[in-house]
């Protein structure tokens, strides 16, 4: 599936590379993550939240960075998703998270993106959200979604 994968009963870890600039592939990783989580019998809402978070992260890497990596880590109590890239970084994270703030190009807008909603959406869909960025080096996001026990899939 991915470049690295180690899977046990309830513990699972996968890493997927993401190429900057390639819109044809954007959505590939979120599709795979969705399939993996569904296959593990994880609650549909959690799967959907993880898919949205991954998709937004993927679109951002494709849109703004040179190269990136998305890592999925499933633990009994939560799903952890990390998105790391090598790219221009984000000079002002507070501004970037604000709804409506965007540096998207016309090409990105033509694809239906670039409304400045993504990071905000990622934050809203995760229970814990960390973002850090080094200008000229890259950006790193870490998201955690709690898996509620006792819910039907």
């Amino acid at each position: 599936m991915g470049a690295v994968s180690v899977c046990e009963q309830h513990l699972c870890e996968h890493s997927f590379p993401v190429n900057g600039g390639n819109f044809d592939e954007a959505g590939r990783v979120s599709g795979k993550i969705k399939t993996i989580l569904k296959g593990m019998g994880i609650n549909n809402d959690v799967v959907r939240m993880a898919a949205v978070i991954t998709y937004e992260s993927e679109i951002n890497i494709v849109s703004y960075a040179r190269h990136g990596m998305i890592r999925l880590h499933v633990l009994p109590e939560h799903v952890e998703i990390e998105a790391m890239d090598e790219g221009p970084g984000i000079p002002d994270i507070r501004l970037a998270i604000q709804q409506g703030w965007s540096t998207a190009t016309d090409k990105i807008r033509e694809m239906g993106f670039g409304a400045g909603m993504g990071l905000n959406n990622i934050r809203n869909f995760s229970d814990i959200f960390h973002i850090s960025s080094d200008v000229g080096k890259g950006t790193r996001l870490k998201m955690i979604i709690h898996i509620q026990q006792g819910q039907d899939p």
Binding site: G27, G112, G118
Partner: protein, 124 residues
Amino acid sequence: MLLREVQKILDAEVLVGADKLDMEVHTAFGADLMSDVLAFADSGCLLLTGLTNPQVIRTADVLDIAAIILVRGKKPPPETLRAASDKNIPVLSTRYILFESAGRLYEKGIVGSTQKVDGRRVRL
């Protein structure tokens, strides 16, 4: 309402998913901006849009959107249709504009997947 009734109401052509017209739908979301679809649409809804690139299908797949209605007579490129068949998501095309499509469906009982935006997204 069945997807087949949606097709009739909108006089729509079925481009993908002719075998899935018996699916039940109750809600819809309309936008050309996938950013907004991701932020505000809910699972199981119809997506009314004028955007035809494959990202529409990927967005729908991520959110478990039931079916896509392309408005304003839009015909998608082959890669979009291929993605829709792969993901098993029905795609219909209507010549009605977004406003008319929404009005006609609403009149027959389809409601917004979210009625109002309240700033913070609630859990799906």
